[in-house]
């Protein structure tokens, strides 16, 4: 699978993999742009803490049971025809110890349970995320004065503010999962599942569909960009705008080709006659980091090859290979790079 320059390495501030692996192997610690244990927000933090509690308990129980097995094997023969009293002791242990541990696990889980469902009431920013085969439609609801703002595959949130996510699907079941921030929740036909999201530091977290949803389930990624309140406001204001097509002839030709080649059948560029609804909204495509739901970085070269051979880059996805002359494609790519 060809892809542009590593999005993820850049996101991750050039953290190389070798030390990560070393840490993993030695301490079992896990860091990564999609790691469950690298928490960028309170929900993931809570679950990460729960994990370390579960992990500690599991290690203790495991050492005890395997230790018993080893002792059982190594002990000198005690001569009894059956286990005698020992059997009864093992039975008592089995009846008493596990329930105590399980109660502790249950209580700890109960305490963390609100993480997924509760606590979204006070969220005043509502974002609808709708899953499609195989990309994400992202709608900011009721942005003042009263407009829904639509984008795709990239969710921006302000740091430190609790966001209410309303998850739904346009076709089959998907599952919204951004491990750095929150546990996953499915997107099920006929329902709206609600999840809250909060980041406590600026940065980019990667997410990926977690419910098998067909051929390209693999390449259904999204990015959650947490940024300062001001940066977020600026971004949102920009997203609200209609597209401004520069007057230069290349952009104008691009727009004409965009319509003529059938792109407009699926894609919308708000502010132009192209208002297709089957694919991601491209009004501000140039401001996004990836294309094809995270399959490649958003660069002019990748845009060109995506248009020409989307089926090679993401086989089976809904975007056909678009047969164009080089000049036409260049014009469309130029247009798209202007959609800031």
């Amino acid at each position: 699978m060809p892809r542009g320059e590593g999005t993820i390495n850049k996101l991750n501030g050039g953290m190389s993999r070798a030390p990560i692996v070393a840490i993993l192997v030695v301490a079992g610690a896990c860091a990564g742009p999609q790691s469950v244990l690298e928490a960028h927000g309170p929900a993931a933090e809570r679950i990460s803490n729960l994990w370390w509690f579960l992990f500690g308990g599991a290690v203790a129980v495991y050492v005890a049971v395997v230790g018993l097995l080893i002792v059982a094997i190594r002990r000198k023969r005690d001569g009894s025809r059956d286990g005698g009293d020992n059997s009864r002791w093992f039975l008592r242990a089995g009846l008493i110890v596990p329930p105590i541990i399980l109660v502790a696990v249950f209580v700890a889980s109960e305490q963390a349970s609100g993480v997924l469902h509760g606590a979204h009431e006070r969220a005043d920013l509502v974002i609808r995320v709708k899953g499609w085969q195989w990309w994400w439609e992202v709608t900011y609801v009721g942005i003042p004065p009263d407009q829904d703002v639509v984008t795709a595959n990239e969710v921006h949130i302000p740091v430190g503010r609790r966001v209410r996510l309303e998850l739904s699907t346009g076709d089959v079941i998907h599952s919204f999962w951004v491990p750095n921030l929150q546990g996953k929740l499915d997107q099920v036909p006929g329902r709206t599942n609600v999840l809250w999201l909060e980041a406590d530091r600026p940065g980019v977290s990667r997410g990926q569909c977690a419910e098998y949803c067909g051929t390209q389930h693999t390449h259904m990624a999204l990015l959650v960009v947490a940024e300062s309140a001001e940066a977020f406001a600026t971004w949102l204001a920009n997203e609200r705008r209609l597209a401004v097509i520069p007057p230069d002839s290349l952009s104008q030709r691009g727009l004409a080709h965009f319509a003529a080649a059938g792109c407009a059948y699926c894609h919308a560029i708000r502010g132009t006659p192209s208002l297709g609804k089957y694919g991601p909204d491209l009004t501000h495509l140039a401001s996004r980091r990836t294309i094809g739901s995270g399959v490649v970085d958003n660069t002019p070269a990748n845009l060109a090859s995506w248009i020409a051979e989307a089926q090679r880059i993401k086989p089976g996805n809904r975007m056909p290979n678009v047969d164009l002359e080089d000049a036409q494609r260049r014009a469309i790519v130029h247009l798209l790079t202007q959609l800031k």
């Binding site: 679950i47 599991a58 094997i73 020992n86 089995g94 546990g183 098998y212 051929t215």
Partner: protein, 827 residues
């Protein structure tokens, strides 16, 4: 009971009676448990290797980032078929093979109660497996996941026949699993050796008995669910479409009500095997026998209460989540007691460290880890992160390979000498174990880490930079090592077949009855039925000499087996067992036509299949010469102090089989009603029930009720000379059944004309229940008709007693189902 010393010629005749027919045709007619079990094992082993190769192909694809070794379509087919194969074509059939082979030997009887059903199960499994794999040949292998979620796999999103292959192919597993359940339940309850009370029952038999009940309660909902899915896919119903009052979550409930108990259906036989291996090589009885049995029962019960933990992240109310969280955690308690009991048995026992026991120790080490991660994922908030990630892939492979496949290997090293008569190489066996053990951990441990790093399941590739590369590469190397380890077993088995040391009857000095027979056991098992006085007959009562036995070489001219009472295991009746017959094979061929007809929507193929099934069913129940021989012989030799011939009623196995059928049907009906109740709150615009329709439905209930009284009254008539009462009762029942069919048709026609809406979920339930009622009523109608014909043949031939008393049993269910339908749809 006295035992007459048999003459040599009588023994020879006995052996001839039980011998398998020769030649190619003979092979198709064979129904003896051992050859059928051989086939089961070999076929399951082949599918195991196939499923393993699929896993290796996937691991090679995932070995490096952005790999293009497999296309996404092929990868999706492979993971779908890997899961489907391992569940339905490997583990379940292998369990059936073990049951079929070892239950009669462990119980001290000559075969399982319904040998034709075993043969039918096997052929259906073989043809169904081939059917499923033929999808690769036509390039339409199932690719929607082994769990076939909706709407991804409805006609709109999966228009190809890929998932039809899956859906129809599953009937394979369903038929053979439910068949096996009937076999095991009646076998363990009825065909134990005299004296083998439940307190003396070998653990493996206990495990299988519990599993058999679970098979019914789990696989029957799967039958209903896959039928609903296929009807939806054919456009006849709409159960899962939100736009029409259905719900895709209903499918998830139905699937996991099957799917989670399935895990314990696979695990409990492993508990049985491990218990036998541990006590044999520790040379002492299993510690806490009673506790282990009770924990197995507890596992079976609780396993039905925790299915929805598979749906923790589908959107669930906090209270439901609490319930399923508690149930999921509870199940760790019985498993813990089992593990501690095995350790207690080994405690200071100076066990013999055979390969078999190595696999058991490896099992404990792996299974406990899988159990602990199981408790972790039972914690709903933590599950929200790792659900559908590689953490879960690691978890369930620790449970399924560590907890099921390792015990199977322990079982093979333990029992294969009994099967082949030759010992496996212990030296090669230990290599086999260590390479598998190391390979397994190298393959699956890193998956925990990949999961925690956020790697989801069912992705055909991943990009570099997410930190998943190293873990995946290690996993791939481990998987290849594990594959090599499995290959060593194949080599060891092949080698022992040719050059292995003779095993003798009891190479391990074990305690249970299978080791008292020759290795391999003869076609005519247990010429003398042993009488059992303890839980460990071979340890406490000597191996072959001076054992207390009954029925030596009796009956000789026909296949007969001894049935005992539920309590006390006292001899109760002798039952006639069928001999070689082609009908099971032919019926499964007819099934193939049905499968194919359903797959490609071919009416002709379906009609051929249905006609074939009917013809073979008639052939199946056609009276045989040996049955007549049994009746006449037992009628004249009744005075030897032998128990009577179990012809009809609770003395005959057919009656118990009918009881099991009732349980299966009730489970199916319950599944349909539960699905209806689940969806009902959604139908707010429902039109009120039509009065005429309601009247017709309750008239049907009344008819069924009167019919049942007549059947009960007639079926109780066991008089051998006159049969007026039975004839009268059956005649009334027969006519009322005809009336019921007319009523049902009327009801259907009336409903069709009065409901104007297009297909919706509510209408689909009417359709489904009508079809179900048609099936039950028609079955009862034909059965009553056949019994009636038999009743007229009295007193010349008393075999008609059995269908008459069995059909009475089915009458009660017929009433139940009509009442249920009337209440559900018309109240």
């Amino acid at each position: 009971m006295t035992t007459l010393q048999p003459t040599t010629s009588q023994v020879a005749e006995f052996e001839r009676t039980w011998s398998e027919p020769r030649g190619f045709i003979g092979a198709l007619k064979t129904i003896n448990n051992i050859p059928v079990a051989h086939r089961y094992m070999v076929t399951a082993a082949v599918f195991f290797l196939v499923g393993g190769v699929q896993a290796l192909l996937m691991r090679i694809q995932l070995g490096t980032a952005n790999n293009t070794f497999l296309s996404p379509d092929v990868y999706n087919q492979l993971f779908t078929m890997h899961g489907t194969t391992m569940m339905f074509l490997v583990v379940i059939p292998f369990i059936e093979a073990l049951a079929s082979y070892f239950l009669p030997l462990l119980l001290g009887t000559r075969d399982l109660p319904f040998p034709r059903l075993t043969a039918l199960s096997y052929w259906t499994y073989l043809f169904g497996g081939i059917f499923l794999y033929s999808s690769f040949v036509v390039g339409a292998a199932p690719d929607g996941g082994w769990f076939s979620y909706l709407p991804l796999n409805d006609k709109e999103f999966a228009p190809g026949i890929n998932m039809d292959f899956w859906d129809i192919g599953l009937s394979v597993a369903e038929v053979s699993a439910i068949g096996a359940a009937a076999e095991i339940i009646v076998g363990v309850l009825r065909m134990r050796a005299p004296g083998m009370t439940f307190a003396r029952l070998p653990i493996f038999a206990w495990a299988m008995l519990i599993v058999a009940f679970m098979l019914i309660l789990a696989f029957t909902p799967l039958v209903v669910a896959t039928a609903m899915l296929e009807l939806d896919r054919k456009g006849l119903t709409q159960f899962f479409d939100v736009a029409r009052g259905g719900d895709p979550i209903l499918w998830q409930h139905l699937f996991w009500v099957f799917g989670h108990p399935e895990v314990y259906i696979m695990f409990l036989p492993a508990v049985g095997i491990v218990s036998h291996v541990v006590q044999t090589f520790a040379r002492r009885p299993l510690a806490n026998y009673k506790a282990v049995v009770m924990t197995m029962v507890a596992t079976g019960v609780v396993s039905f209460l925790l299915w929805a933990h598979h749906m923790f992240v589908a959107g669930m109310s906090p209270n439901a989540m609490r319930f399923f969280m508690i149930a999921s955690m509870l199940i760790a308690i019985p498993a813990g007691i089992q593990v501690l009991s095995w350790i207690a048995t080994l405690w200071g026992a100076r066990a013999r460290w055979t390969t078999s026991l190595h696999f058991v120790a490896g099992f404990i080490v792996l299974f406990v880890l899988g159990g602990l991660t199981g408790v972790m994922v039972a914690s709903a908030p933590f599950d929200a992160q790792v659900h559908d990630s590689y953490f879960v892939v690691a978890h369930f492979h620790y449970v399924l390979i560590g907890g099921v496949i390792f015990p199977f290997f322990a079982g093979m090293y333990y029992w294969l000498p009994k099967i082949t008569g030759r010992l496996l190489s212990e030296r090669l066996g230990k290599w086999n174990f260590w390479i598998m053990f190391v390979g397994f951990n190298v393959a699956f441990f890193p998956m925990h880490i990949a999961g925690l790093l956020g790697m989801p399941r069912r992705v055909y590739t991943y990009e570099t930079g997410l930190g998943w590369d190293v873990a995946n590469l290690i996993s791939t190397l481990g998987a290849l090592t594990l594959g090599f380890g499995v290959l060593l077993f194949v080599i060891n088995a092949a080698r022992s077949g040719r050059r292995g040391k003779e095993a003798g009857n009891n190479p391990w000095s074990s305690d249970t009855l299978e080791w008292s027979e020759e290795s391999p056991p003869p076609s005519a098992q247990f010429v003398s039925i042993p009488v059992v006085h303890s839980r460990h007959p071979l340890w406490n009562e000597g191996e072959t000499t001076q054992r207390d036995v009954v029925l030596t070489a009796v009956p000789a001219r026909w296949r007969g087996a001894l049935c005992v009472s539920l309590r006390g295991a006292k001899p109760e009746s002798i039952v006639h067992m069928p001999g070689p017959t082609p009908w099971p094979f032919l019926m499964s061929v007819a099934f193939v036509f049905l499968f194919a007809g359903a797959l490609i929507d071919s009416g002709i193929l379906a009609v051929i299949g249905a006609a074939g099934t009917s013809v073979t069913l008639v052939g199946w129940f056609w009276p045989t010469k040996s049955e007549r021989m049994a009746v006449s012989e037992m009628a004249t030799h009744d005075s030897h102090g032998q128990p009577p011939l179990g012809i009809a009623g609770p003395l005959a196995n057919g009656w118990w089989g009918t009881l099991v059928l009732n349980v299966v049907l009730a489970t199916a009906l319950g599944t349909i009603v539960a699905s209806y109740l689940y969806l009902a709150p959604r139908w707010t615009d429902r039109t009120p029930v039509d009065f005429t329709e309601m009247l017709l439905a309750w008239l049907a209930v009344l008819t069924a009720l009167v019919g049942a009284v007549a059947a009960w009254w007639g079926g109780r008539d066991r008089n051998l000379n006159t049969a007026d009462r039975r004839r009268f009762g059956l005649s009334v029942g027969f006519m009322l059944d005809a009336g019921l069919l007319v009523l049902l048709w009327w009801l259907y026609a009336y409903h069709e004309t009065s409901s104007t809406r297009s297909i919706d979920a509510l209408g689909s339930f009417y359709y489904l229940m009508f079809v179900f009622q048609a099936f039950i009523t028609l079955l009862h109608f034909v059965w009553t008709g056949v019994s009636l014909v038999w009743a007229w043949r009295l007193p010349r031939d008393i075999r008609g007693l059995a269908p008459a008393s069995n059909v009475a049993l089915l009458s009660y269910f017929l009433v139940l189902s009509w009442v249920t339908v009337a209440i559900t749809l018309y109240v």
